[in-house]
Protein backbone atom coordinates (compact mmCIF):
# COMPACT_ATOMS: atom_id res chain seq x y z
CA UNK A 1 0.00 0.00 0.00
CA UNK A 2 1.27 3.46 -0.80
CA UNK A 3 2.02 5.69 2.13
CA UNK A 4 -0.03 8.88 2.12
CA UNK A 5 1.95 11.93 1.02
CA UNK A 6 3.63 13.84 3.85
CA UNK A 7 2.81 17.24 5.24
CA UNK A 8 5.57 19.43 3.82
CA UNK A 9 6.79 22.61 5.50
CA UNK A 10 9.04 24.97 3.54
CA UNK A 11 11.22 26.98 5.90
CA UNK A 12 12.94 26.10 9.18
CA UNK A 13 12.87 29.44 10.94
CA UNK A 14 10.96 30.09 14.14
CA UNK A 15 7.63 29.70 12.33
CA UNK A 16 8.46 26.40 10.64
CA UNK A 17 10.04 24.69 13.62
CA UNK A 18 7.47 25.93 16.12
CA UNK A 19 4.64 24.77 13.92
CA UNK A 20 6.17 21.31 13.61
CA UNK A 21 6.84 21.09 17.37
CA UNK A 22 3.18 21.85 18.03
CA UNK A 23 1.99 19.52 15.28
CA UNK A 24 4.14 16.65 16.56
CA UNK A 25 2.48 16.92 19.98
CA UNK A 26 -0.93 16.46 18.35
CA UNK A 27 0.00 13.97 15.65
CA UNK A 28 2.72 11.58 16.82
CA UNK A 29 2.59 9.39 13.71
CA UNK A 30 2.19 12.06 11.01
CA UNK A 31 4.77 11.93 8.25
CA UNK A 32 6.41 15.39 8.09
CA UNK A 33 9.07 16.72 5.72
CA UNK A 34 10.74 20.11 6.18
CA UNK A 35 12.69 21.79 3.39
CA UNK A 36 15.06 24.69 3.89
CA UNK A 37 17.32 26.73 1.64
CA UNK A 38 19.86 27.15 4.47
CA UNK A 39 21.55 24.70 6.85
CA UNK A 40 18.42 24.21 8.96
CA UNK A 41 19.96 25.21 12.29
CA UNK A 42 17.31 26.03 14.85
CA UNK A 43 17.86 29.45 16.36
CA UNK A 44 15.83 32.31 17.67
CA UNK A 45 15.90 35.21 15.24
CA UNK A 46 15.25 37.88 17.89
CA UNK A 47 18.54 36.86 19.48
CA UNK A 48 20.47 38.01 16.40
CA UNK A 49 20.14 41.57 17.65
CA UNK A 50 21.55 40.95 21.12
CA UNK A 51 24.54 38.87 20.05
CA UNK A 52 27.21 41.57 20.21
CA UNK A 53 26.34 42.80 23.68
CA UNK A 54 26.32 39.23 24.96
CA UNK A 55 29.35 38.41 22.77
CA UNK A 56 27.75 35.32 21.27
CA UNK A 57 29.15 33.65 18.18
CA UNK A 58 26.79 32.29 15.53
CA UNK A 59 27.51 28.77 16.79
CA UNK A 60 26.53 29.76 20.29
CA UNK A 61 23.22 31.17 19.04
CA UNK A 62 22.40 27.96 17.17
CA UNK A 63 20.28 25.90 19.55
CA UNK A 64 20.19 22.71 17.48
CA UNK A 65 21.37 21.48 14.09
CA UNK A 66 19.01 20.23 11.40
CA UNK A 67 20.03 16.65 12.28
CA UNK A 68 19.22 17.25 15.97
CA UNK A 69 15.83 18.68 15.03
CA UNK A 70 15.09 15.78 12.68
CA UNK A 71 15.85 13.28 15.45
CA UNK A 72 14.04 15.22 18.16
CA UNK A 73 10.86 15.73 16.13
CA UNK A 74 11.01 12.50 14.15
CA UNK A 75 10.87 14.31 10.83
CA UNK A 76 12.90 14.58 7.65
CA UNK A 77 14.76 17.89 7.22
CA UNK A 78 16.20 18.59 3.78
CA UNK A 79 18.82 21.32 4.05
CA UNK A 80 20.35 23.59 1.39
CA UNK A 81 17.40 22.72 -0.81
CA UNK A 82 15.52 25.28 -2.87
CA UNK A 83 11.91 24.61 -3.82
CA UNK A 84 11.57 25.93 -7.34
CA UNK A 85 7.84 25.57 -8.02
CA UNK A 86 4.53 24.42 -6.63
CA UNK A 87 1.67 22.98 -8.68
CA UNK A 88 -1.38 23.22 -6.40
CA UNK A 89 -3.74 21.29 -8.69
CA UNK A 90 -1.45 18.24 -8.50
CA UNK A 91 -0.46 18.63 -4.83
CA UNK A 92 3.15 18.62 -5.94
CA UNK A 93 6.19 20.77 -5.44
CA UNK A 94 9.37 20.80 -7.43
CA UNK A 95 12.99 20.95 -6.39
CA UNK A 96 14.52 21.53 -9.80
CA UNK A 97 13.62 18.36 -11.72
CA UNK A 98 12.65 16.38 -8.65
CA UNK A 99 8.97 16.26 -7.76
CA UNK A 100 7.57 15.74 -4.30
CA UNK A 101 3.94 15.09 -3.46
CA UNK A 102 2.36 16.67 -0.40
CA UNK A 103 -0.92 16.12 1.39
CA UNK A 104 -0.73 19.58 2.89
CA UNK A 105 1.88 22.25 2.29
CA UNK A 106 2.95 25.05 4.63
CA UNK A 107 4.89 28.08 3.45
CA UNK A 108 7.02 29.44 6.29
CA UNK A 109 9.32 31.38 4.01
CA UNK A 110 10.05 34.44 6.10
CA UNK A 111 10.92 37.88 4.79
CA UNK A 112 13.63 39.42 2.64
CA UNK A 113 15.60 42.46 3.64
CA UNK A 114 15.25 45.53 1.49
CA UNK A 115 18.48 46.53 -0.22
CA UNK A 116 19.50 50.17 -0.13
CA UNK A 117 20.24 51.93 -3.39
CA UNK A 118 23.53 53.68 -2.82
CA UNK A 119 26.16 54.90 -5.25
CA UNK A 120 29.86 54.24 -4.82
CA UNK A 121 32.34 51.37 -4.79
CA UNK A 122 31.92 50.18 -1.18
CA UNK A 123 28.81 48.00 -1.57
CA UNK A 124 30.94 45.08 -0.40
CA UNK A 125 31.10 46.69 3.05
CA UNK A 126 27.30 46.81 3.43
CA UNK A 127 25.82 43.91 5.40
CA UNK A 128 22.32 42.95 6.32
CA UNK A 129 21.61 40.46 9.07
CA UNK A 130 18.46 38.51 8.40
CA UNK A 131 19.43 35.00 9.45
CA UNK A 132 22.05 33.11 11.41
CA UNK A 133 24.32 32.63 8.41
CA UNK A 134 24.27 36.40 7.74
CA UNK A 135 25.11 36.91 11.39
CA UNK A 136 28.06 34.50 11.15
CA UNK A 137 29.45 36.29 8.09
CA UNK A 138 29.03 39.68 9.71
CA UNK A 139 30.66 38.61 12.99
CA UNK A 140 33.67 37.45 11.03
CA UNK A 141 34.35 40.85 9.44
CA UNK A 142 33.17 42.82 12.46
CA UNK A 143 35.80 41.29 14.70
CA UNK A 144 38.52 43.55 13.31
CA UNK A 145 36.43 46.57 12.36
CA UNK A 146 35.11 48.63 15.17
CA UNK A 147 33.30 51.52 13.47
CA UNK A 148 29.88 50.84 12.01
CA UNK A 149 27.19 52.82 10.25
CA UNK A 150 23.68 51.51 10.74
CA UNK A 151 21.22 52.42 8.00
CA UNK A 152 17.68 52.60 9.34
CA UNK A 153 16.20 53.51 12.73
CA UNK A 154 13.43 50.93 12.94
CA UNK A 155 13.30 47.99 15.29
CA UNK A 156 16.39 46.21 13.99
CA UNK A 157 18.37 49.43 13.47
CA UNK A 158 17.75 50.59 17.04
CA UNK A 159 18.41 47.16 18.54
CA UNK A 160 21.64 46.86 16.59
CA UNK A 161 22.72 50.36 17.59
CA UNK A 162 22.33 49.50 21.26
CA UNK A 163 23.81 46.03 20.88
CA UNK A 164 26.91 47.00 18.90
CA UNK A 165 27.59 49.96 21.16
CA UNK A 166 27.37 47.58 24.12
CA UNK A 167 29.80 45.34 22.25
CA UNK A 168 32.34 48.19 22.07
CA UNK A 169 31.68 49.57 18.58
CA UNK A 170 31.49 53.16 17.43
CA UNK A 171 28.00 53.55 16.03
CA UNK A 172 26.51 56.09 13.65
CA UNK A 173 22.84 55.67 12.67
CA UNK A 174 21.65 57.20 9.39
CA UNK A 175 17.91 57.19 8.71
CA UNK A 176 15.43 59.25 6.69
CA UNK A 177 12.77 59.39 9.45
CA UNK A 178 12.48 62.34 11.83
CA UNK A 179 12.25 60.14 14.93
CA UNK A 180 13.25 56.60 15.88
CA UNK A 181 10.91 53.66 15.23
CA UNK A 182 8.55 55.86 13.20
CA UNK A 183 6.00 53.10 12.54
CA UNK A 184 5.84 52.06 16.18
CA UNK A 185 6.51 54.99 18.52
CA UNK A 186 5.06 58.47 19.00
CA UNK A 187 7.81 61.13 18.95
CA UNK A 188 7.81 61.62 22.72
CA UNK A 189 8.75 57.98 23.36
CA UNK A 190 11.17 57.95 20.43
CA UNK A 191 12.96 60.95 21.93
CA UNK A 192 13.44 59.11 25.22
CA UNK A 193 14.98 56.19 23.37
CA UNK A 194 17.17 58.48 21.28
CA UNK A 195 18.42 60.31 24.39
CA UNK A 196 19.22 57.00 26.00
CA UNK A 197 21.14 55.71 23.01
CA UNK A 198 22.99 59.04 22.69
CA UNK A 199 23.92 58.82 26.37
CA UNK A 200 25.94 55.68 25.63
CA UNK A 201 27.56 57.31 22.61
CA UNK A 202 25.42 56.39 19.60
CA UNK A 203 25.40 59.23 17.03
CA UNK A 204 22.24 59.87 15.00
CA UNK A 205 21.91 61.42 11.55
CA UNK A 206 18.16 61.60 11.05
CA UNK A 207 16.26 62.95 8.04
CA UNK A 208 19.24 61.85 5.97
CA UNK A 209 20.25 58.94 3.77
CA UNK A 210 23.61 57.80 2.45
CA UNK A 211 24.00 59.04 -1.10
CA UNK A 212 27.45 57.67 -1.77
CA UNK A 213 29.58 55.05 -0.09
CA UNK A 214 33.24 54.70 -1.06
CA UNK A 215 36.39 52.97 0.15
CA UNK A 216 38.73 55.33 1.96
CA UNK A 217 41.77 54.85 4.24
CA UNK A 218 41.12 51.12 4.77
CA UNK A 219 37.58 52.00 5.78
CA UNK A 220 34.53 53.53 4.17
CA UNK A 221 33.33 57.06 3.68
CA UNK A 222 29.61 57.78 3.62
CA UNK A 223 28.34 60.98 2.06
CA UNK A 224 24.94 61.90 3.45
CA UNK A 225 22.10 63.75 1.77
CA UNK A 226 22.38 66.51 4.40
CA UNK A 227 25.98 67.21 3.35
CA UNK A 228 27.65 65.49 6.29
CA UNK A 229 30.34 62.86 5.91
CA UNK A 230 30.69 59.83 8.18
CA UNK A 231 33.77 57.60 8.24
CA UNK A 232 33.50 54.01 9.39
CA UNK A 233 34.62 50.47 8.63
CA UNK A 234 31.36 48.71 7.90
CA UNK A 235 27.73 49.48 7.21
CA UNK A 236 24.71 47.50 8.37
CA UNK A 237 21.54 47.89 6.36
CA UNK A 238 18.39 47.63 8.46
CA UNK A 239 15.98 49.55 6.27
CA UNK A 240 13.15 47.07 6.33
CA UNK A 241 11.73 43.65 5.58
CA UNK A 242 9.25 42.42 3.01
CA UNK A 243 7.47 39.04 3.02
CA UNK A 244 8.93 36.53 0.55
CA UNK A 245 6.39 36.20 -2.22
CA UNK A 246 8.23 34.87 -5.28
CA UNK A 247 7.37 31.18 -4.85
CA UNK A 248 3.74 31.91 -4.00
CA UNK A 249 3.34 34.27 -6.92
CA UNK A 250 4.83 31.71 -9.30
CA UNK A 251 2.39 29.09 -8.00
CA UNK A 252 -0.52 31.46 -8.61
CA UNK A 253 -1.43 32.06 -4.95
CA UNK A 254 -3.14 35.31 -4.03
CA UNK A 255 -0.71 37.83 -2.56
CA UNK A 256 -0.88 41.35 -1.22
CA UNK A 257 1.86 42.68 1.00
CA UNK A 258 2.22 39.05 2.11
CA UNK A 259 0.81 35.68 1.00
CA UNK A 260 -2.90 36.11 1.63
CA UNK A 261 -4.44 33.66 4.08
CA UNK A 262 -7.72 33.34 5.94
CA UNK A 263 -8.10 32.90 9.69
CA UNK A 264 -7.24 29.22 9.30
CA UNK A 265 -4.03 30.38 7.60
CA UNK A 266 -5.08 28.76 4.33
CA UNK A 267 -4.02 30.46 1.11
CA UNK A 268 -6.20 30.93 -1.95
CA UNK A 269 -5.40 27.30 -2.85
CA UNK A 270 -6.75 24.50 -0.69
CA UNK A 271 -4.24 22.47 1.33
CA UNK A 272 -1.61 25.22 1.07
CA UNK A 273 -1.05 27.33 4.16
CA UNK A 274 1.26 30.21 5.06
CA UNK A 275 2.60 31.25 8.45
CA UNK A 276 4.98 33.76 9.99
CA UNK A 277 6.66 36.72 8.31
CA UNK A 278 5.56 35.69 4.79
CA UNK A 279 1.85 35.57 5.62
CA UNK A 280 -0.83 38.24 5.44
CA UNK A 281 -3.59 37.17 7.82
CA UNK A 282 -6.78 39.01 6.91
CA UNK A 283 -4.77 42.08 6.00
CA UNK A 284 -2.33 41.86 8.90
CA UNK A 285 1.36 41.44 8.14
CA UNK A 286 3.03 41.34 11.54
CA UNK A 287 6.73 40.56 11.44
CA UNK A 288 6.96 39.73 15.13
CA UNK A 289 7.28 36.63 17.25
CA UNK A 290 4.02 36.75 19.16
CA UNK A 291 1.63 36.46 16.18
CA UNK A 292 3.82 33.69 14.81
CA UNK A 293 3.52 31.64 18.00
CA UNK A 294 -0.26 32.07 18.08
CA UNK A 295 -0.41 31.05 14.41
CA UNK A 296 1.75 27.96 15.01
CA UNK A 297 -0.60 26.69 17.70
CA UNK A 298 -3.71 27.25 15.59
CA UNK A 299 -2.28 25.83 12.38
CA UNK A 300 -0.95 22.72 14.16
CA UNK A 301 -4.52 21.94 15.22
CA UNK A 302 -5.86 22.56 11.73
CA UNK A 303 -3.23 20.28 10.21
CA UNK A 304 -3.98 17.62 12.82
CA UNK A 305 -7.60 17.57 11.66
CA UNK A 306 -9.28 20.09 13.96
CA UNK A 307 -9.86 23.21 11.83
CA UNK A 308 -8.93 26.15 14.06
CA UNK A 309 -8.98 29.87 13.43
CA UNK A 310 -6.07 31.91 14.68
CA UNK A 311 -6.86 34.78 16.97
CA UNK A 312 -4.44 37.57 17.75
CA UNK A 313 -4.93 39.01 21.18
CA UNK A 314 -2.94 41.97 22.36
CA UNK A 315 0.45 41.88 20.65
CA UNK A 316 2.89 44.23 22.35
CA UNK A 317 6.30 44.55 20.72
CA UNK A 318 9.37 44.53 22.94
CA UNK A 319 12.26 46.54 21.53
CA UNK A 320 15.51 45.08 22.84
CA UNK A 321 17.29 48.31 23.70
CA UNK A 322 18.50 47.67 27.26
CA UNK A 323 19.71 51.26 27.74
CA UNK A 324 16.08 52.37 27.55
CA UNK A 325 13.74 49.39 27.39
CA UNK A 326 10.73 49.91 25.13
CA UNK A 327 7.42 48.08 24.93
CA UNK A 328 4.88 49.28 22.43
CA UNK A 329 1.48 48.25 21.20
CA UNK A 330 0.87 50.61 18.29
CA UNK A 331 -2.72 51.61 17.51
CA UNK A 332 -4.10 50.06 14.32
CA UNK A 333 -3.43 52.19 11.23
CA UNK A 334 -6.07 54.91 10.72
CA UNK A 335 -7.28 54.69 14.33
CA UNK A 336 -8.96 57.88 15.47
CA UNK A 337 -7.68 59.26 18.72
CA UNK A 338 -4.86 61.11 20.40
CA UNK A 339 -1.62 60.41 22.18
CA UNK A 340 -1.14 61.71 25.69
CA UNK A 341 2.06 61.16 27.59
CA UNK A 342 3.59 61.33 31.03
CA UNK A 343 7.31 62.01 30.76
CA UNK A 344 9.98 61.83 33.41
CA UNK A 345 13.41 61.84 31.76
CA UNK A 346 13.80 58.44 30.08
CA UNK A 347 10.58 57.08 31.50
CA UNK A 348 7.63 57.69 29.22
CA UNK A 349 4.12 56.38 29.40
CA UNK A 350 2.27 57.36 26.24
CA UNK A 351 -1.33 56.26 25.73
CA UNK A 352 -3.41 56.48 22.59
CA UNK A 353 -7.12 56.82 23.34
CA UNK A 354 -10.20 57.58 21.26
CA UNK A 355 -12.82 60.19 22.11
CA UNK A 356 -14.71 57.90 24.45
CA UNK A 357 -11.51 57.13 26.34
CA UNK A 358 -10.95 53.58 25.04
CA UNK A 359 -7.24 52.69 25.02
CA UNK A 360 -6.15 51.73 21.47
CA UNK A 361 -2.38 51.67 21.83
CA UNK A 362 0.50 52.53 24.10
CA UNK A 363 4.23 53.12 24.18
CA UNK A 364 6.26 52.64 27.34
CA UNK A 365 9.93 53.36 27.91
CA UNK A 366 12.40 53.02 30.74
CA UNK A 367 10.92 52.20 34.14
CA UNK A 368 7.38 52.54 32.76
CA UNK A 369 7.57 49.24 30.85
CA UNK A 370 6.32 47.45 33.97
CA UNK A 371 2.88 48.95 33.33
CA UNK A 372 2.46 46.84 30.18
CA UNK A 373 0.40 44.15 31.90
CA UNK A 374 -2.12 46.62 33.28
CA UNK A 375 -2.46 48.38 29.92
CA UNK A 376 -2.71 45.10 27.97
CA UNK A 377 -5.91 44.32 29.89
CA UNK A 378 -7.49 47.51 28.56
CA UNK A 379 -6.52 46.98 24.92
CA UNK A 380 -8.81 45.45 22.30
CA UNK A 381 -7.57 42.27 20.56
CA UNK A 382 -6.03 42.69 17.10
CA UNK A 383 -7.97 39.77 15.59
CA UNK A 384 -10.49 38.66 18.21
Amino acid sequence: MNQPAPIVVIGTGLAGYHLVKELRKLAPEQNIVMITADDGCSYSKPMLSTGFGKNKSADELAMATAADMAAQLNIVVRTNTQVTNIVPTEHKLYIGEEELEYSKLVLALGANVLTPQVEGDAQDRVFSINDLQDYARFREVADDNKRVIIMGAGLIGCEYANDMRAGGYEVDVVAPCDHLLPTLLPPVAADALQNGLESIGVRFHLQAVITKLTHENNGIKAELSNGNVVEADLAVSAIGLRPRLALATKAGLATGLGIKVNRQLETSESDIYAIGDCAEVEGHVLLFVLPLMASARALAKTLAGQPTEVSYGVMPVTVKTPVVPVVVSPPAPDSEGNWTAEVSEQDVQAEFRNQSGQLLGYALTGAKVVNKLTLNKELPAILP
Binding site: P46, M47, V289, L290, M293, T318, K320, V327, L373, K377
Partner: protein, 54 residues
Protein backbone atom coordinates in the same frame (compact mmCIF):
# COMPACT_ATOMS: atom_id res chain seq x y z
CA UNK B 1 11.44 25.22 43.28
CA UNK B 2 11.66 24.94 39.50
CA UNK B 3 12.98 26.94 36.58
CA UNK B 4 11.15 27.78 33.39
CA UNK B 5 12.70 28.91 30.15
CA UNK B 6 11.27 30.98 27.32
CA UNK B 7 11.45 28.78 24.24
CA UNK B 8 11.95 31.79 21.99
CA UNK B 9 14.76 33.73 23.62
CA UNK B 10 16.05 31.53 26.40
CA UNK B 11 15.18 33.88 29.27
CA UNK B 12 14.86 31.92 32.50
CA UNK B 13 12.26 32.34 35.22
CA UNK B 14 13.56 30.93 38.47
CA UNK B 15 10.76 30.37 40.98
CA UNK B 16 13.19 30.83 43.84
CA UNK B 17 14.23 34.31 42.68
CA UNK B 18 10.89 35.36 41.22
CA UNK B 19 11.03 38.44 38.99
CA UNK B 20 10.68 41.41 41.34
CA UNK B 21 11.03 43.95 38.49
CA UNK B 22 8.04 42.24 36.85
CA UNK B 23 6.05 42.26 40.07
CA UNK B 24 6.63 38.59 40.96
CA UNK B 25 7.92 38.07 44.48
CA UNK B 26 10.69 35.54 45.15
CA UNK B 27 9.18 32.10 45.63
CA UNK B 28 6.26 32.70 43.23
CA UNK B 29 5.49 29.36 41.67
CA UNK B 30 4.98 29.18 37.92
CA UNK B 31 1.40 28.00 38.32
CA UNK B 32 0.73 31.18 40.30
CA UNK B 33 2.26 33.48 37.68
CA UNK B 34 -0.62 35.32 35.94
CA UNK B 35 -1.83 33.84 32.65
CA UNK B 36 -1.13 37.13 30.86
CA UNK B 37 2.50 37.13 31.95
CA UNK B 38 4.88 37.91 29.10
CA UNK B 39 8.58 37.23 28.67
CA UNK B 40 10.49 40.38 29.70
CA UNK B 41 13.11 39.80 26.99
CA UNK B 42 11.09 38.94 23.92
CA UNK B 43 7.45 39.44 24.83
CA UNK B 44 5.99 35.98 24.19
CA UNK B 45 3.35 34.60 26.52
CA UNK B 46 3.37 32.20 29.46
CA UNK B 47 2.41 29.28 27.22
CA UNK B 48 5.73 29.64 25.39
CA UNK B 49 7.75 28.72 28.46
CA UNK B 50 8.93 25.19 29.16
CA UNK B 51 10.10 23.72 32.41
CA UNK B 52 13.82 23.03 32.45
CA UNK B 53 16.15 21.13 34.72
CA UNK B 54 19.34 22.96 35.60
Amino acid sequence: MKKWQCVVCGWIYDEELGAPEEGLAPGTRWEDVPEDYICPDCGVGKEDFEMIEI
